[in-house]
């Protein structure tokens, strides 16, 4: 789960990292009032989860409260990477002497919590990593002892932090690693960590939480912003389903992420376009199947549904029963191709045949049948 800038900064501030004061506004008038309280000039920043916010016009400078109101009005009209902007952060504008990049990430290849740092912070850090890898430090932390003072010194000297700011830098890096570990994050990033006349400040921040860790952080789960999520994706998550909407016409319901992706690949290979990625998860039973149907069919582009279940921990007969029951209650009927193999496949086949559902044996065959069904549906 990604956290917005202002929430990420709140967490960092709790771990002793210097941030600027700021206020959240959802209307232009509130942005104006915030600017009056904070003192001008201010920066008005769209609070969205997508990257590329600055380049999309989501960050604007305002010299006085009236301008803050006008800029907020413009930004609140924007869609950034398809997502509407509901909230802006109003924060004082500062003069930046230097921008550093500082992040903590779980590096799966190194199997370590890893510090990433560069003296060339700012929005083009990825280009720096490509063109001048030596300008980016990657420091894996020992899993038994975590961040040690000598690690902090190594990063500080690599970045050539001026002596007067080294103590603040040490507190910032220590706080960042602490925040990463204590929130079960996948990423905690400060970009830029700016050197200003007031010292080092985290001007922008991003925290991405490990979804598997959320169960033990109910306080963080509450930070989820429903307005930021596709309604269908939110409904899927609540039902324990992974769903990503795509642009095609063939709805896919599959168990397992790998098989779901392979099913989409084969739909494409058969000449169709998948309408979604959908993994009903391990051990799915009829309630989850019914929810998956509702989510897939809520997409008006869907012309056919391909159901591909290879039972292991999931039992085929329970899914088959779920399909039959859910189909009866559907508002919209589209052609359906069902393939259920593996655990309890024979029982599943009996249930499907009794309900007169179109079934397939191989995955290639199922994909071809679904593409044919969707194409026939288009002609109607």
């Amino acid at each position: 789960m990604k956290l917005q800038e202002f929430r990420s900064k709140e967490i960092l501030a709790r771990h002793g990292i210097p941030t600027l004061p700021g206020e959240i506004a959802t209307t232009p008038a509130a942005a104006r009032a915030a600017a009056e309280r904070l003192g001008v000039p201010v920066v008005v920043k769209a609070q969205v989860l997508a990257g590329g916010r600055g380049k999309a016009g989501g960050v604007k400078l305002a010299a006085d409260p009236a301008e803050a109101e006008a800029r907020a009005a413009e930004i609140l009209e924007l869609r950034i990477a398809g997502a509407p902007v509901h909230t802006v952060l109003v924060t004082p504008s500062v003069v930046i002497a230097h921008e550093y990049y500082l992040a903590v990430i779980l590096d799966r290849a190194a199997r370590a919590v890893t510090v990433i740092a560069s003296a060339e912070g700012g929005i083009d850090i990825e280009d720096v990593a490509q063109t001048d890898p030596a300008a980016v430090l990657r420091l894996p932390l020992n899993p038994l002892i975590g961040l040690q003072p000598h690690n902090v010194r190594a990063v500080s000297f690599f970045l050539a932090i001026p002596e007067a700011h080294r103590a603040t830098f040490a507190a910032t890096l220590t706080g960042l690693v602490e925040a990463f570990v204590q929130t079960d994050a996948e990423l905690a990033e400060i970009n830029p960590l700016a050197l200003t006349s007031d010292g080092l400040v985290a001007l922008d921040a991003k925290i991405v939480l490990d979804d598997s860790g959320l169960a033990r952080h109910p306080d963080l789960e509450q930070l989820r912003d429903p307005a930021e999520e596709e309604p269908a994706e939110a409904a899927a998550r609540e039902a324990g389903i992974s769903y990503i909407k795509l642009d095609g016409t063939i709805g896919c319901m599959v168990n397992g992420a790998g098989l779901a992706m392979a099913t989409m690949d084969l739909v494409k290979l058969a000449g169709g376009e998948p309408a979604n990625f959908l993994d009903i998860g391990g051990g799915a039973r009829h309630e989850r199947v019914a929810a998956a149907f509702r989510i897939i069919l809520a997409d008006p582009n869907v012309r056919a549904v391909l159901i591909n279940i290879f039972g292991g921990i999931t039992r085929g007969d329970e899914v088959a029963q779920g399909i039959v029951e859910a189909r009866a209650g559907l508002e919209r009927q589209v052609p359906m191709v069902v393939r259920i193999v593996g655990t309890n496949a024979d029982e599943a086949a009996f249930i499907l045949e009794s309900a007169d559902l179109q079934t397939a044996y191989t995955l290639d065959e199922a994909a071809a049948m679904a593409v044919a069904a969707a194409t026939a549906g288009e002609g109607r």
Partner: protein, 292 residues
């Protein structure tokens, strides 16, 4: 012989009295796996599966009394790291963790502690392993296998079954099939399983099933080019997947150009691996490589 599991596997089930432990425990017994013990704290002294399998309170006791040498874990994510630690500290040499949803930072500790103990962990979030005709450990349906000489290793669960079935349907049997799990941190890598297959006299060729994300496939490709004499065929899922979740700038810095299906397919092809467009093409690619 064969790798990881065989007729000498003496299996302990952690979480044996739960829904999954019961269902898959029965399936493993039916397959002929030697299930010698179960552990459910508080139910020690009872028996399950019609008196065939004794239940113990602790792994140490189960190992002591039954000589269990391998464990399979079906307990919920909140308790799974502790279950792994308990098995590793009680004389179990090989642990399969089926459980899904273990936080990555927990797995990081598990990974390094088990490495230090010299205990092999497969998973978590994995389907287990089967050596056809000898033993199955985990949740892979037993009836899709056929005994033979092709090894299979996969990051996926159900996609593994798909490929196994495609092999069996075309008369190509398997030496051992292993799912290593799809989580960011897993106990055993592609490279380690490829090394076991390369050394296994009962394996003539290997199938590798990958998916987008991470750089495991790219590293495996390098390993194959440098060290493997046995032919390898592969399928990588996710060519049509939308660009994956970007983890800020750091994710891009970490992954560089790797992670996409095309990057993985190219790396594997450059390493001399035969790469399939559909799982169903794998049998033909193996025949091409000389598999009987």
């Amino acid at each position: 012989m064969s790798i990881l599991v065989d007729r000498d596997t003496r299996l302990l089930i952690q979480g044996i009295t739960g829904r999954e432990g019961q269902f898959h425990g029965q399936a493993m017994l039916d397959y002929g796996t030697q299930v010698v013990a179960g552990v459910t704290p508080g139910k020690g002294g009872q028996e399950t599966f019609n008196g065939r399998v004794p239940i113990f309170d602790t792994v140490a006791e189960a190992v002591d009394r039954t000589g269990a040498n391998t464990s399979v874990i079906y307990v919920p994510a909140a308790f799974a790291p502790d279950a792994i630690f308990e098995a590793a500290s009680s004389g179990i040499g090989l642990i399969f963790c089926i459980t899904e949803g273990i936080p990555a930072l927990d797995m990081l500790r598990v990974y390094h502690v088990l490495r230090a103990q010299g205990v092999r962990l497969i998973g978590p979030n994995c389907p287990g392993a089967t050596t056809p005709g000898e033993a199955k450990v985990g949740i892979i349906p037993g009836n899709i296998h056929r005994r033979g000489r092709v090894g299979l290793v996969s990051r996926s669960g159900t996609l593994t079954y798909e490929v196994v079935e495609a092999l069996t349907d075309e008369g190509i049997g398997q030496s051992t099939c292993v799912g290593i799990g799809g989580d960011p941190i897993v106990g055993t890598s592609f490279i380690e399983i490829l090394t076991l297959f390369e050394a296994d006299p009962l394996t003539d060729a290997v199938v590798l099933i990958g998916e987008i994300g991470g750089d495991e496939e790219e590293r495996a490709a390098e390993h194959i080019a440098q060290t493997m004499s046995k032919p390898v065929a592969a399928f990588v899922a996710g060519r049509t997947a939308p660009p994956g979740r970007r983890m800020g700038h750091a994710g891009a810095i970490i992954s560089g150009g790797t992670g996409t299906a095309e990057s993985k397919r190219t790396a594997l092809r450059d390493a001399g691996v035969r790469v399939a467009d559909s799982p169903l093409q794998i049998p033909a690619l193996l025949r091409e490589a000389g598999v009987a």
